[in-house]
Symmetry: C2
Subunit: 407 residues, 2 copies
């Protein structure tokens, strides 16, 4: 099998995740070069071959051996010129660069079409959540007319913390910066630019209409006070930075990013911390929702790597249910006798089953007592053996039900 | 552009949805034939050309003009033989048939590979939710090791109703049958066969391991009593029919369908009625979730049609934010004077803005009163004009914030 050769531009958080992920697939993918700003900077990648590093990105975009250029450096300059040069040199592009897509997507897609190359960018919108590709392929038959989404983890983290701790915007921003959830200059996130770049590209795909970044309304969260959040809560709302997009029958698009009061029962009100979520409404599908990690080294790497990978299948062996471990809810009727619970405990103990909850529900008309127990983690076959023994015991009148617990 | 010619086998609920959906794309797709049991049965499809109907499915699978055979008849016989014949005749297959995939998938995929044809089946698992294709493509770089899902709408509806109404299984089943959510013979759903077929195919794709239907543990919901549901609730759980699959480091798969107690705070505990949900855990992506309609004419048609469609893009025009309509939360400080609220009401009235909530929050240290109002649906430009007028009013000391409401 011919190996696919890739060159990676950028070895920050996302680039590092990509290298670590791709290294699991070195049979089919070869990293030919990695362009970095400083080749002497220490890198947190086990077994990284330093000879792959270069500080000249041209060694990637001009390299005739490379099939795919993975651009994960971010920003418009010099990424835009590098991507254009790579396409002109016949390379496919995988990028996580939402800013370039929002500002120069049209130009890049036209160039790629002309050169018969492909630009993939699943990682640019909502990190690890598969959204671009489902919309482009399996949801294609739909007329999607509405998107409501939480697309920026930093602002969602800040709003969640302000709500939970009753803290001010400034306090929470400082804490988020210390934790690495917000950048030293947080403008791109807190003023809604990041979410705006993402919704522009997502709406362009979903509506099959080119949405222009300058046409959309954008407002960040810097004016949201702890008082607003408290008052909203009294009124039954959470405040979230919502990226929304609608398109009417005439093809007019309404795309915006701004804080919104979201009713507490609404699913988006319950998306917390750095999680992202996207609700799509369309015909014929109705309403579907995707949630997951919207940023970070590994989730983003999942989408970048997904854009370049192929795998093959093997045979698997099934585990016998008897060997599996679960917690169990067991409902039974016992004789109305103080020793009955002790009998259950003894039988369970004999079969290495711990009980974490015992609920005695009083006496039934037939003078039996209703008991529910919940077990600790136990082997299915041990539980089945214990039930057999219980059935034989004179203290236990009837086993009503056995249901497994979800952990 | 060459039209893609399709033949459809089956014109029940799903087939009808497919025909209605595809008719929006008649520029690129042509329905050549539709095989039905009874060509004289009245059909709820506007403008259906009756000459397309045939009661001989061979006219589809043997038709040299047809590129894609869409099998939406369900069941193993005669669907299996028809699909095999179609593949042997060089046709691609789109199917919603989970039973055939679970029982004969391996055989069919081998045959398709040999004949260089493709079998797509997004609609077979979780109806309108895009799950098979994301797992096969964009999530490919992941080692998915855990799936927890609600894959059967009928049983989830029954359990939801039993919980909400405190009704017995038999009562709710009867009601579900009357509403068309359960079949006259509900065995396939309530005994967990349907969910088992789906999880087997999903786990096969997600784990890249052939999971065999006979190896998995399956238990339905017929033994769940209203008492179990009540007791579980007392203990902080909901009872759900969970399709789960795990794979360990050694490649051993644990795949099962059975009722489980799900902690109330768990997302799956809050998936109600006929909605489906799938949680996937893998590396590097982490945990992602997909929710949406798991069955029904149109959601299923979305996935069937998605498997065969391609579209192209146009230009769009943006709506000015001023012309958009929203509800607004406006927080302001007024003079501590009984007439202040009246001033707000008058100004809003002048600009065609209704107020739905007014919250007076007492007096601040500087003797101003804190007031929050929520408006009815109003034009953004009218609200902006009203705010300008408020700023000029001596009754209003300060406008603290304006935030839009999500509807």
């Amino acid at each position: 099998m011919k190996k696919i050769k890739i060159g990676i531009i950028g070895l920050g958080t996302v680039g590092t995740g990509v290298v670590k992920t791709i290294s699991n697939f070195w049979d089919s993918i070869e990293i030919t070069k990695i362009a970095v700003r400083d080749i002497n900077k220490p890198r947190n990648i086990e077994g990284l071959d330093k000879s792959l590093l270069t500080d000249k990105a041209e060694e990637i975009v001009d390299n005739p051996d490379i099939d795919i250029v993975v651009e994960v450096m971010g920003g418009v300059n010099p990424a835009l010129d590098l991507i254009k040069k790579a396409i002109n040199n016949g390379k496919h592009i995988v990028t996580a660069n939402k800013e370039i897509l929002a500002k120069h997507g049209e130009e890049l897609f036209l160039l790629a079409k002309e050169k018969n190359r492909v630009i993939l960018y699943e990682a640019a919108i909502a990190g690890g959540i598969p959204i671009i590709m489902p919309v482009k392929t399996i949801l294609r038959a739909n007329k999607i007319n509405k998107i409501a989404a939480i697309l920026n983890g930093t602002t969602n983290y800040i709003l969640t913390k302000m709500d939970k701790d009753g803290a001010s915007y400034d306090e929470v921003l400082k804490e988020a910066q210390e934790l690495g959830y917000a950048e030293a200059d947080p403008t791109g996130d807190v003023e809604g630019f990041d979410a705006a770049y993402k919704i522009v590209t997502l709406a362009t795909i979903a509506f099959n209409k080119r949405i222009k970044i300058n046409g959309i309304y954008r407002e960040g969260i810097t004016k949201i006070t702890d008082k607003d959040i408290k008052l909203a809560k009294e009124l039954g709302y959470k405040i979230k930075l919502i990226a929304s997009a609608k398109i009417d029958e005439a093809g007019r698009a309404d795309v915006r990013v701004h804080p919104m009061l979201v009713p507490e029962g609404h699913v988006l009100a319950n998306i917390n911390n750095v999680t992202n979520a996207i609700m799509l409404t369309g015909k014929p599908v109705g309403e579907i929702m995707f949630t997951g990690p919207g940023a970070g080294e590994f989730p983003t790497a999942s989408s970048v790597a997904g854009d370049i990978l192929a795998l093959s299948a093997e045979e698997a062996e099934n585990v016998e249910i008897g060997e599996t471990e679960n917690r169990y809810y067991i409902s039974l009727n016992t004789t109305d006798n103080p020793g009955s619970i002790g009998v259950i405990g003894t039988i369970c103990g004999n079969h290495k089953i711990n009980l974490t909850d015992i609920l005695q529900k009083g006496t039934n008309p037939d003078s039996t007592a209703e008991v529910v127990v919940i077990t600790g983690l136990s082997k299915e076959k041990n539980v089945k053996e214990a039930l057999k023994e219980m059935k034989k015991s004179s203290a236990i009148v009837k086993i009503n039900n056995l249901i497994r617990l979800m952990n």
